[in-house]
Symmetry: C2
């Protein structure tokens, strides 16, 4: 029989952050596509849109008027998934029907007053302001006694359920540690207890040595396609130092994260010369007042596109019931991302 | 403060099959939708489509001709995610870079020769034939020494990545037990070891007593919205007896499963008077020659639609990074599904 080769043969890879496997099928990239096509994101032209509920000075659906803000602007989501009031609750023990109230705050963060921009089109300085507001929000929300976790994320593109092209992200702060984060934390902790170093420090060092999946690197951060990536162009940004959370960021760290964010999102846009959709978010220590030595700041990018601006990867059927599956190898994706320019296609 | 009420207050529910939580936000159903709209599935009119690679007698892309089959027809996927040949492999121990070859077989199962049909439009008899082919495939594939798990599923609708409306499903058989199944199995086993009964027997009995989330029931099976449902109209079909896998099915069981499949998918179509998209699949014991007392046959339905035939639930951002979240309660969905007729809207 043939000897195994990860470029040609189906295989599974292990994701140590989630303690689960992903099925990689390199031979499948050849299959013809006859399925659904997406509308590619067309660029927004106007810096101000009178219909946009995020633009400065506009009325929101609930009648509140946005201030005439410049730069970053944060407010409570008008249709949040959480409510900040506490409710009384009699805990009952029932193994099969467990339910408990959840308290929290949903915030919306406009990255810019300019309706037409996206992160890659903003200056490093302007993105640095976004990062420092993330830090502020993490701090202020985290200090509330009933908030134990602050999830910062961005959904970009209609294909990712984002209903407004105005550049913005969200923050969901809550009492419980969400399932995915709790799992990640458990795996980080197991590793830290065993080795005395963070999983991501050791992983990053190995990736830098191997130098096959690294996309970008600066003094503070590395962007790479993880060995266990699930989405076709999935990447992670990892801090070089084992920073616990945003509070450990110096001014310089904030600017360095902004720089790598700009370059990575520019590379994404350049792959298919479109505004590249994704969900992205930060994983960092919960705000539950524990020390969390095991945590190591990182950011996940989960973009849905696979073959072109209009053909996405469907995580359905087998993936929902059995296991994540990908059609090109992480190394092939890394190759494409490495070749992609850091000069935005609109500026060429 | 208010006292907790699961109809009005955000809360979390526990999924004992996956050992994870889902965030339920009943108050969020009111938010306006300005995002992406889907093309509803239009019905297929022609019983035979000369362009369809699944229709009887047609040529597939790789040049193979389908037989002029009647009823159910199964063949190996031309662009599978797995390959059946073994490859030699030197196992290396590396905590952070674990990878191993995966061997398997991908099959496609046409439910009918008739291009225009879908499961709810087929007769119970014809669906019974589908069930008995599932059983046959589970048996034949499972008997191969390198196959330890057989995943049977259906992706329905372009929105679910299904590239062809011809009624069909898939079977992915492989050496390893996929991540989701392994997790489910672990939780089923923990429960069985503790109680000496299957988790789903005890759960089902309680649901029948409560009678709030039960959609359909016959002599052999129950269809319900699980207490911990994630997708807006997620359901499960559970066998009343703790049947391990399809091999334990009598002829009568096969017909009873077919009956409930027809009625459930009919109810789905009737909610928005469209062919209702979903991914569905069977969870049952792996074919690894262990006895697996803990396993209890069930089928998951994960439909993406939320508000209408064209507005789906996006599992993005917070959901990808943190935790599944839903906007209407499982009880509200159950109410809608209970009211929905078992006479298909096309036949009225
Ligand atoms: O095999 P198909 O129908 O071409 O492909 C579809 O189902 C597969 C199994 O769920 C997924 O991996 C694909 O992403 C999806 O497009
Ligand atoms: O809050 P939005 O942008 O209206 O909504 C979007 O992001 C949320 C958080 O990821 C998801 O729960 C929604 O399904 C999605 O449509």
């Amino acid at each position: 029989s043939n000897s195994f080769n990860s470029k040609d043969h189906p295989h599974r890879r292990y994701n140590p952050l989630l303690d689960e496997w992903v099925l990689v099928s390199p031979q499948r990239a050849k299959r013809p596509w006859q399925g659904q096509q997406e509308e590619p994101l067309t660029s927004v032209q106007n810096q101000y849109d009178p219909e946009c509920y995020l633009c400065p000075g506009n009325l929101r659906i609930n009648g509140v008027q946005n201030p005439r803000y410049e730069g970053v602007y944060v407010f409570d989501n008008d249709f949040g998934s959480l409510l900040s009031e506490g409710v009384s609750f009699d805990k009952t023990e029932d193994e099969l029907f467990q339910m408990k109230p959840e308290r929290g705050i949903n915030r919306v963060i406009c990255f810019s007053h300019d309706h037409s921009l996206t992160l890659p089109e903003m200056s490093v300085e302007a993105i640095t302001n976004v990062v420092s507001v993330w830090k502020e929000e993490y701090q202020n929300l985290g200090e509330l006694d009933y908030i134990n976790h602050v999830q910062i994320f961005e959904n970009k593109g209609a294909i990712m359920g984002c209903s407004n092209p105005h550049p913005h992200g969200q923050i969901w702060a809550q009492s419980s540690i969400p399932s995915q984060v709790a799992r990640t934390q458990q795996n980080l902790k197991n590793y830290y207890d065993k080795h005395g170093t963070t999983l991501l420090s050791d992983y990053l060092q190995r990736e830098i040595e191997i130098n096959e999946r690294i996309i970008l690197e600066n003094k503070g951060f590395v962007a790479l396609v993880p060995f266990w990536a699930t989405w076709p162009f999935e990447t992670m940004i990892i801090s070089k130092k084992p920073l616990n959370n945003l509070l450990a960021f110096s001014h310089e760290d904030q600017a360095l994260l902004a720089q790598i964010l700009k370059d990575l999102t520019t590379k994404y846009d350049n792959i298919f010369s479109v505004s590249f959709p994704y969900s992205a978010g930060i994983h960092q220590a919960p705000t539950d007042s524990e020390s969390h030595e095991e945590w190591h700041f990182h950011m996940h990018f989960y973009p849905p596109l696979l073959r072109s601006a209009s053909v996405k990867k469907f995580m359905v059927g087998y993936e929902m019931l059995a296991e994540a599956q990908r059609d090109i190898t992480p190394e092939q994706s890394a190759e494409i991302l490495k070749k992609s320019s850091i000069i935005h296609y609109k500026n060429r």
